[in-house]
Amino acid sequence: MIVLHGRGIVGGCAEGEALVTRETISGWGGIDPMTGTVIETRHELRGQSFKDKILVFPGAKGSSGWSNAFHMTRLTKSAPLAMVFNQMTTKIALGAVVTRVPAVTELDQDPLSVIETGDWVKVDGDRGVVEVTKKRF
């Protein structure tokens, strides 16, 4: 198991399968808040849903509707289980706060290098700890 230490920005604990992207995600216009599916043209996750996944991504981009789009996923029960990300922005800070899922950033290792889609990830937003169990082939 690999343990990463960072700063929790929204408290709580969650664990599940990771969905990892090296591309930043747009909220409004980039995801379908009814299903949690990435819809942005040319995005590497296009057509995939982060619902019930640990979303590991560089950060947020695009419209200021980011927080609203992720806030909506909380209502539609399509939100990710937790967020692990690198780049702090107002979009992602507010989005994580109102989505109310554990969120950790400023990690001591790059989560995009350590975590792959399908890995089992445990996020502790109170302590800022991310535990990664690599998937078995």
Binding site: V10, G29, K61, G62, G65, S67, L94, V98
Partner: protein, 428 residues
């Protein structure tokens, strides 16, 4: 974090429960950012309490109350209870909305949704919010001054506010602007602070950038190249008018997350390259030449499939009055074969009406609408397969949001397509 006396008092409930919940949300947000304090703001642009039928019905079902105050309390302020919402403080305006109240049927909206928006608007007005209904508040009566701390949503307005005006705002969200309307506070982070307003990337422009289309393409290229960092443009670039800045910034904020840019000798915090960079070296120098220009054009036209155009959409971001003049001149005495919808603010439409521009567009067969756009309303004319656009931002969003092919070009290319029904645009 450090809290002033009035902030502590609001948190303790001295200003009532709604202000208390608003402060609680702002503290959660500020702590997530790592902000150390708040700044005072009197200029707030957001989408307070506005709800789709989905939100209204969700809260009717889950909280027994789908009123404006319920949506504002439970959703905007993320509070656990429905509260009496006091009047907004300061200069607060509502940005774009979901539909044009006169043309809701053309947009495919229901009468129920239209009446719901009317009720929302009346509630907003009662709460002291200016019904501006535009993504371009700076063209419709909300123009801050250099250095003014603002709390704005709408990425294209944010980048304009920071870069062209020299006022200070982060890209705020619905919940933070709604909380700021009650408290007059926003986290002192990012673009509110001098050290975060300096350029990181140098863009060497090596090909002339003159037309609105070219400014849009340059913005789209830069957003992709710097993501959310801060570019400074140097080289073959001159002062642009507000229209070109509008299209440039909107594009850069769509392909990336650009919230501020500098142009040497043009924008207010870039009297020199050294000033824009704050005395540091750029982390990267990126060239924009004819080859990059051609690639951006091809990227923006990647969803163009069929030369038969059904629909021309103009006004992203909302059209300025000079765009109305151009479109009215191009359409004067002509009839169009496609649908043509042009979107703007209510303020600019009033001027366009009185200037005779709206009539010329409508006489040709077009429709002028306010408040929204095709991407926001997720509405295109029935049966649309291929749309023609003069906005890089709309080209970025619309094909992903409603399943259509899209051509990108100049306003003239778009009007030509409207008149002939065929796309003939090319990179010139």
């Amino acid at each position: 974090m450090f809290l002033t006396g009035d902030e502590k008092a609001m948190l303790d409930g001295a200003g009532g429960v709604a202000k208390q919940k608003a402060m609680e949300l702002l503290v959660r947000y500020a702590q997530a950012l790592g902000a150390e304090r708040f700044v005072d703001t009197k200029n707030i642009a957001g989408v307070p309490g506005s709800s789709t039928l989905f939100l209204q019905k969700y809260f009717e079902e889950h909280a027994g109350d789908g009123s404006f105050e319920a949506v504002f309390s439970l959703y905007d302020l993320d509070a656990g209870e429905v509260m009496a919402v006091p009047e907004a403080s300061g200069n607060c305006c509502h940005l774009q909305g979901g539909m044009d109240l006169a043309h809701w049927a053309d947009l495919g909206m229901s009468r129920e949704a239209m009446q719901h928006q009317q009720a929302d608007e009346a509630a907003l007005a009662r709460h002291g919010v200016r019904i501006m209904k535009t993504c371009t508040p700076y063209l419709a009566g909300n123009l801050p001054v250099k250095g003014e701390h603002c709390a704005w949503m709408e990425s294209s307005a944010v980048v304009y506010c920071n870069s062209v005006i020299g006022a200070r705002t982060n890209t705020e969200g619905r919940e933070s602007t709604s909380a700021a309307m009650l408290t007059g506070k926003i986290p002192d982070w990012g673009f509110h602070r001098d050290e975060h307003r300096r350029a990181t990337h140098l863009i060497e422009v090596e090909t002339p950038v003159e037309s609105v289309m070219d400014w849009g393409m340059l913005g789209y290229f830069i957003g992709g190249a710097v993501e959310e960092d801060i570019p400074v443009l140097s080289g073959a670039i001159r002062q642009a008018d507000p229209l070109r800045h509008k299209h440039f910034g909107a594009a850069a904020a769509s392909s990336g997350g650009v919230e501020m840019y500098h142009i040497v000798g043009v924008t207010p915090e870039a009297a020199s390259l050294e000033m824009a960079l704050g005395g540091r070296k750029p982390v990267a120098t990126i060239k924009y030449g004819p080859e990059e220009r051609r690639r951006v054009y091809e990227t923006l036209n990647a969803n163009g499939r069929d030369a038969n155009v059904d629909y021309v959409m103009l006004g992203c971001p909302h059209a300025s009055i000079e765009q109305f003049r151009e479109v009215a001149q191009l359409l004067d005495g002509k009839k169009i074969k496609t649908h043509l919808w042009m979107f703007t603010s209510r303020a600019v439409k009033t001027v366009a009406d009185m200037s005779g521009f709206t009539k010329k567009i409508e006489d040709a067969g077009g429709l002028v609408m306010t408040d929204t756009c095709s991407a926001i309303a997720r509405a295109v004319p029935k049966g649309t397969k291929i749309v023609a656009l003069d906005s890089a931002k709309q080209t970025h969003y619309l094909p992903a949001m409603v399943d259509v092919g899209a051509w990108f070009g100049t306003t003239e290319d778009c009007i030509h397509a409207a008149i002939t029904g065929r796309w003939a645009g090319e990179l010139r």
